[in-house]
Amino acid sequence: MSIQVNNIHKTFGKFKALDQIDLEIPSGGLVALLGPSGSGKTTLLRIIAGLDFADAGSGTISFNGLDVTSLAAAKRKVGFVFQHYALFNHMSVFENIAFGLRVRPKSEQPSELEIEERVHKLLKLIKLENFGKRFPKQLSGGQRQRIALARALAVEPQVLLLDEPFGALDARVRRELRRWLRQLHEEIHVTTILVTHDQEEALEIADEVAILNHGKIEQRGRSQAVYDFPTNAFVCEFLGDVNSFSNEKQTTLVRPHEIELYRHEPSGIEGVVRSVNAFGAVERIEVDLLCEKKLILVERSSAVKEKHPLSTGDLVCVKVRKEFIFPHA
């Protein structure tokens, strides 16, 4: 089921939360809406779900070309997963997942046997087969979020909308669930939109990302392409660490791993090593540029690190491998 967002506006009082948003999400795709808090990404997701409505007179939301703009959330067949799970605490895990089936009108309600079958299949899918009788408060955050996902999938939604689904989880569980979600998506292929402020998460999970800022989409494209070819300084800075050099005409941004350090020679750009931080696979070095009076961040792989060890106070020369130049408007 493809999703088309066409010219959507949303204002809260005087604040423009969404400003003329156009977005097309292909059927079966997994797209991340990425942006800092207040950029409008959650608002857009809620408007797609029907939990919020765009300004009167603005554009349309369509599923597979069918206009759903004025359709109530209950009729849109969307699965929505909340940051804080929003599980029904007074119901067992089984009943949570079965909820969407039980609230159907009598004529469309599956039999008790079918419900049981469906719930067990979903419990298996989320790898919590024996948890049906437990209650949400007996589960960990990661388990709760998987239950929330199963509950959303139980009604066989046309689209799956995930609002910062890993935001309340700790770092290790977050990484685990990310990979799991990607695998799950390969299995079930439901069109999915993921809202997140974590660029690493977005780039890792999603086929495509749309980067929002101040209610506008700054850039949209395949994850790798957006990272390699940012169209403006905001996108470039948002997607990862950069060293920024500005003059009246332009901003030049350089990623820390695109800077090379080599043995000092008088003709090069000189710098002094201020600190060396060598945890994990990359070594992070702060270098004081002598000509610019500016501290820059450099990242080196462990292979390079072993070949040319550096320590605080060393005199080095700096070479930029790749830079992004954005002329000022």
Partner: protein, 292 residues
């Protein structure tokens, strides 16, 4: 009224604080508290029952079964049975609209709900006399239709409703605000109708808080004196509630009978207190669960 939310916060704070005071300070404080409670609460409470039975069981029984007493008991229950369900519906509607919707005048509505707490019940009673009394706005048209509100049972019911309006709404608003609306939104995206959301999601979430409000409301409804006193007209055997009947008996020097009736009211209050304590702990659990 503090509400379950703030009571819960207080509970947590006292649990985490490590107070280290000298022993004598502790003993003194506890001693002062206990003697104060004994002199001003327990002793009078005991006196109610002692005086009630001072002339024996048969006098006690006669005092609470004579026709004026029975009529007062009936009217008290009648007014309560109407006021509590009405406030239940109003409280739910008010709490739902205040916590789930955005609309202009929301703050004013919250303030208005508290009005009966701020205004003396006597004034509440007088307002209804001004509206429905024979000299009031609707006095003539009511008389023409043969409807009597003031100095009759309907007036007593109105007075009771007036003073109990805040109880349930005030209990539910902070509870529902703290719980948020994510679960309701989740239910909606799963295809539930508004009615299903209410019965299957919201009501189970707030049931103890709601019951707590009902108990408080019930206690106040049975014990209300001021507003009801103004509106009832004190017609013995017709428009007296239990508290009004007690006052009349006492003024007429029927002390034992007055205390017998008072013991009934006190007994109801103690039962209310017991239920309240039980529900309070349940409601606190409900709160903890939803917030965590």
């Amino acid at each position: 009224m503090a509400g379950i939310v703030s009571r819960l916060k207080g509970h947590r704070a006292s649990g985490s604080m490590a107070l280290k005071e000298p022993k004598w300070v502790k003993r003194l404080l506890i001693g002062v508290t206990v003697s104060f409670l004994f002199i001003f609460l327990i002793l009078p409470l005991a006196m109610v029952f002692i005086s009630a039975f001072s002339e024996g069981i048969s006098v006690y029984y006669a005092s609470i079964t004579e026709s004026a007493a029975l009529s007062a008991i009936r009217l008290t229950f009648f007014a309560t049975m109407i006021a509590v369900p009405l406030n239940l519906i109003f409280g739910l509607a008010a709490a739902w609209s205040i916590t789930k919707f955005e609309f202009p005048g929301k703050q004013i509505l919250i303030t208005l709900i508290d009005l009966p707490f701020a205004v003396s019940p006597v004034i509440g009673g007088l307002i209804y006399i001004l509206i429905f009394g024979s000299q009031g706005w609707f006095g003539n048209s009511l008389r023409d239709h043969g409807i009597q509100i003031v100095f009759a049972a309907p007036g007593v019911v109105l007075g009771t409703i007036f003073v109990t309006v805040p109880f349930i709404a005030r209990e539910l608003i902070p509870l529902m605000q703290a719980q948020g609306k994510d679960q309701e939104l989740a239910a909606i995206t799963l295809g539930a109708s508004g009615w299903q959301v209410f019965w299957r999601v919201t009501l189970p979430k707030i049931k103890w808080g709601l019951l707590y409000g009902v108990i408080l409301c019930n206690g106040r409804a049975m014990g209300e004196f001021g507003a009801v006193s103004v509106l009832s007209g004190h017609i013995r055997g017709q428009t007296n509630t239990i508290p009004l009947h007690i006052e009349i008996l006492y003024n007429e020097y029927h002390t034992t009978a007055a205390f017998a009736m008072a013991s009934l009211l006190t007994f109801l209050a103690l039962v209310t207190l017991g239920i309240k304590t039980y529900i309070e702990s349940k409601a606190a659990d409900e709160m903890n669960e939803e917030i965590s």
